[in-house]
Symmetry: C2
Subunit: 652 residues, 2 copies
């Protein structure tokens, strides 16, 4: 790695093309749309809750009128058959008002997505055009008050009544009420309701049904349905989250979304998937698009924050410089260290996101073909892990950027008030990050063999007693012996260990392999000692979470490294290469204690990594302005007094 | 350290007495006051900005009527002469509405404090009673738009006119306008204005003057004064921050706060402090009380967040347990790891805060005695460093706690919306944390010899060329040789190195000494190589900030360790001892990469620290409820739907 190979001037349009990827035209459409005066959001903080919600509904209608909201749906219902394009648009909407973003996600992604993924051809034909046009606003009613993350345990029931050929939906108690349901409090007329399906006294696990909830004329809840507003939130006040209770609500047999489980006219249940566990996870798998979308939105939000903070850091001068002038904040290594590694990681996550979206798109295009099953299983933990890491990156980046702007960042017109408040829930909705990482960890242990997504930790601890851990432990035994040795004897070769791309990748891979095999060993040892399975699991949980993180770190770097190799423009490749170095070395630097503890890096080498990160900050500093310009966030959309390209009429 | 020595049951009142310290009566008074219905704050988020500001003014009047607001002022003006008591009360107000807290800080701490610390006896007599009663609301007008952190460079002028024996106050341009001034936008009638004092054409540096700004009858700005509202902020909407411009505003000669610099009737300037640099830093030293107060408030806010999150974690059950029931979130080691080390650090910071407040109190009581000068110089970096570390701890803890509460934490009634938004500015006001740590770092280098508080990095880089670095380098040379050796040869004794209290302290001390001496060496080397001083400084800045952090880490642990030793109740001592272990070992764990890189810990020992932190979380888990009960935050004051002692009518 030569830190010097950076072009003197940045080709910002080329860099932007790299970031925008295949769907640059979609992104530009959204940029143009959001730049129009009717999408101005400078006054929304002053609106009361209902007015803000209505504004968001109006914006969503305007978006629907462009037709872009049908982009992800199948061609046979008039859609674009382009999930990747839909997500690219969604990511771009995340540069603007985030209540609008979430409303789009709720209506077209969740409500529409559930019908797209769980419904049959007739249901898709009947519903998707009305949903895409926003003629039929609806809800995705999965989460219950008592079970935010443990969907398999949800307790709403849909009991089949063979006499009338109807399902009867019931909320057994308050803990089973549906909570946090977007569109429920005000605008939604129907809902996809997730419930335990009971047919002939037998429970077949969680299924989804379409249930009308609100009268179109009167806006009142329909009989048997109780609706409550979730009330004021920390942010996203323009989204009408609500709670739902069902008491003996009857829907026809055909209301069941029956792609993965149907009840025929004779009242007989059948499913193409035999195992009820696997069926459940296949259905949950339809959440994957939501998770990928949220992860992408978090990356976009991190770009808004970095755009503001880096431009402010270039504009704001403090203290004298040797010539008697003043020094830009961005000229301090401390300030560069705060912002530039986060910038590099936003680039890294953008490319990992592109690859993940492409994988989803390929699966959706393939339809029900047998051979996408394996790809689907591989995508799910990837989506879960990337969502967790991307949303934490968003939260951390926005906070660091707010502080880097000092008092100016604390004024509402800087944009940070909305950015902070609206994104804060990203880390805990669409799957709590900790729970998601736990799922990733479990998948790593089972080698994708088991059904992905068993949310119960005991499900994890339980299988500890099985054979699978023995296989993992054996598989990695050779490496372990080497690892154990290196713990005792500092490996001389570490001193010469390079820090080039191949070495960066190898370091991340080693860490992942070691963490996964060690946690398997620990789980197995705990069970063999006869300890309580929950205790064994709880004791290993932090280790399992670290393993999951290391897995995400690895594939994010792989995506970025591959993207650098593929870049054809020499200058753009050089700058991406340096950003990739900064991202990789900063990732390793943060985890260097682990590498030192396990003899994978010597003390001298670890210090060298710190020096290289410093050096890369210094090398990239002159390009800071161009690196955020390449995010391509129009001033009107960014809506920040201190973050626009033109500040005080001056351009640096 | 035996992790087992914890009493079966916690004596919560005894623990609370330890936390409340000498001023427990003051704290209880504030708890009782804030619990009264008229201080209910559950509706403030719904108020518009002006109504909220007026509510806060009304609350502040009620507080003033208790007389508590005079507690910190000297007895000769009718005050309590009890600065420590005033701050203890202030810290307790931080459990309630934070706009009220900041208003109290602005009026009684900053506006009153400036007159108390910079004024003469007559000025104190004239002003403090009216300020303490809130009959005269006023401002502390220091910060300028162009110079948030570099006060020495501020550009407002106060030019003496010998003809009329008046000072003429002028704002030369917009960059010199006063910004962020609390009480300015709405309620303040006078202001302490910091300006460059010009007498007979000679500039004597920054001084403070009392300047009327607003007409009592009309509420209009007085002639020559322009006032602008800062407008909407990210939080603290109940505080009326504003901007001020002065154009030829005339005040009498006696408006100068002349404790450290006076102009006599003949128009001759004199000061008890010869060096204008030292004079400036002595005046700035009066900011120390504000910084200590903000640090204490941040610790209180972290306690509010932990109270909510830990109670929620005990209440909220997820997934099944082996007996078929469900497991409390707090039973997961991952959840304990998230919250309990932060809890231990909130305890640690409470005791460090108590010691810091006691030191300030002693200095204020001593008055102008010569021998408090050294104590004052030692207190200032301590206050600056503790403020930085405590406010970052607050921000981090509140965020972690919000996420640990999932969706429930995102509802406004959880309390996190206000906690997050209102505390967010703590890290950048009353001295930006990075700038403050830089000051601490510089003081460590100079050994308190130089004037504390030179905010210019070039001031730091400049002195690099001086003799002082040679002394530091020499002073630590012996240790360096040992350190260098241990970098090469892993020290066998590290394997046996204990992790008891003495070892914990030694580890933190070693780190501080090493970092300070190394940064001195690096600065010296940079200058000897003839490099540009700013570049040398910038290059070493992250290192200097790390040194400053390590200094704070060390004295915080020392405070806690001493407090554990002094505790007379055996059971309370045992629990504090474990909390102190958890805080100390977590601090070392976070920095273990450094210890490994420098051969101060072996890989095996570092891993042992991680195991001990896990074990301590497990040991303290059964006491989690009592440990937050001991913070003593009444439900009415905490104002959180999910954080009260009584949730759903049940007590765990």
């Amino acid at each position: 790695m030569s830190t010097e190979h950076v072009p003197a001037a940045l080709d910002v349009p080329a860099l932007r093309r790299a970031l925008d990827g295949d769907h640059h035209a979609v992104r530009d459409e959204v940029r143009a749309l959001l730049s129009r005066p009717e999408f101005d959001r400078s006054d929304v903080a002053g609106l009361d809750r209902d007015a803000y919600r209505d504004r968001v509904l109006d914006w969503t209608r305007r978006v629907a009128r462009t037709g872009a909201t049908m982009r992800g749906y199948p061609p046979e219902v008039g859609g674009g058959g382009d999930v990747a394009g839909f997500i690219a648009g969604f990511e771009t909407f995340a540069f603007g008002d985030l209540s609008l973003l979430v409303k789009i996600g709720v209506q077209f992604g969740l409500w529409g997505g559930a019908i797209q993924n769980l419904g049959n051809a007739g249901q898709r034909q009947e519903y998707l055009p009305q949903i895409g046009s926003l003629d039929l606003p609806g809800c995705f009613a999965m989460t219950e008050r008592g079970h935010g993350s443990d969907v398999q345990a949800l307790r709403t029931t849909a009991t089949y009544d063979p006499v009338t050929a109807e399902f009867v939906i019931d909320t057994p108690d308050d803990q089973a009420s549906k909570d946090w349901i977007g569109n429920a409090a005000r605008h939604g007329r129907e809902a996809v309701v997730f419930a335990q399906l009971v047919v002939g006294g037998e429970t077949h696990g969680v299924h989804a049904l379409i249930v009308p909830i609100r009268d179109e004329e009167t806006d009142e809840a329909l009989p048997g349905i109780r609706i409550e507003d979730c009330g004021d939130k920390l942010g996203l006040q323009g989204v009408d989250n609500g709670r739902l209770w069902f008491h003996g609500v009857r829907v026809p047999r055909t209301a069941l979304l029956d792609r993965f489980g149907a009840v025929d006219a004779e009242g007989v249940y059948s499913s193409p998937i035999e195992s009820s566990g696997r069926r459940f996870f296949t259905m949950l798998g339809t959440l994957v698009q939501g998770r990928i979308s949220v992860g992408g939105a978090a990356v976009s939000a991190s770009k808004s924050a970095l755009t503001i903070a880096i431009r402010h850091g270039l504009d704001r001068r403090q203290f004298e410089d040797p010539e008697g002038g003043e020094v830009a904040l961005m000229d301090y290594l401390g300030h560069q260290r705060r912002l530039l590694p986060l910038l590099a990681t936003s680039y890294a996550l953008s490319f990992a996101q592109q690859d993940t979206v492409a994988a989803l798109d390929a699966i959706v295009r393939a339809g029900d073909d047998e051979d996408v099953e394996q790809q689907r299983r591989e995508l799910e933990p990837r989506a879960a892990g990337l969502k967790a890491i991307a949303t934490w990156h968003g939260t951390q980046t926005i906070q660091e950027c707010r502080e880097a702007c000092g008092g100016a960042g604390y004024l509402r017109d800087s944009g940070f008030a909305a950015l902070k408040a609206d994104t804060d829930v990203f880390t805990t909705f669409e799957g709590d990050n900790t729970v998601l990482l736990q799922l990733v960890g479990k998948t790593l242990l089972t080698g994708f063999r088991d059904d992905f997504g068993n949310l119960s930790p005991l499900g994890t601890a339980g299988f500890v007693a099985g054979q699978v851990l023995d296989v993992i432990v054996e598989r990695t035994a050779v490496r372990q012996v080497l690892g154990a040795l290196s713990d005792v004897l500092p490996r001389r070769e570490d001193e010469e260990r390079g820090l080039e791309r191949a070495d960066q990748l190898e370091l991340l891979r080693e860490r992942e392999e070691h963490l996964v095999s060690r946690v398997a060993q620990r789980l197995r040892a705990g069970v063999k000692e006869g300890r309580d399975p929950f205790e064994v699991f709880s004791y290993c949980q932090p280790h399992l979470l670290a393993a999951a993180r290391s897995h995400v770190d690895r594939f994010v770097l792989e995506s970025f490294a591959l993207r650098v190799e593929r870049e054809e423009d020499v200058g753009t490749q050089a700058i991406l290469d340096r950003l990739c170095d900064l991202h990789a070395l900063r990732t390793i630097e943060k985890e260097r204690a682990w590498y030192l503890e396990h003899g994978r890096l010597s003390g001298g080498r670890a210090k060298e990594i710190t020096r290289r990160v410093d050096r890369l900050c210094h090398v990239l500093r002159p390009h800071a302005a161009g690196l955020v310009d390449a995010f391509g966030i129009p001033d009107e959309v960014l809506c920040s007094r201190i973050g626009g390209r033109e500040v005080d009429g001056e351009r640096w």
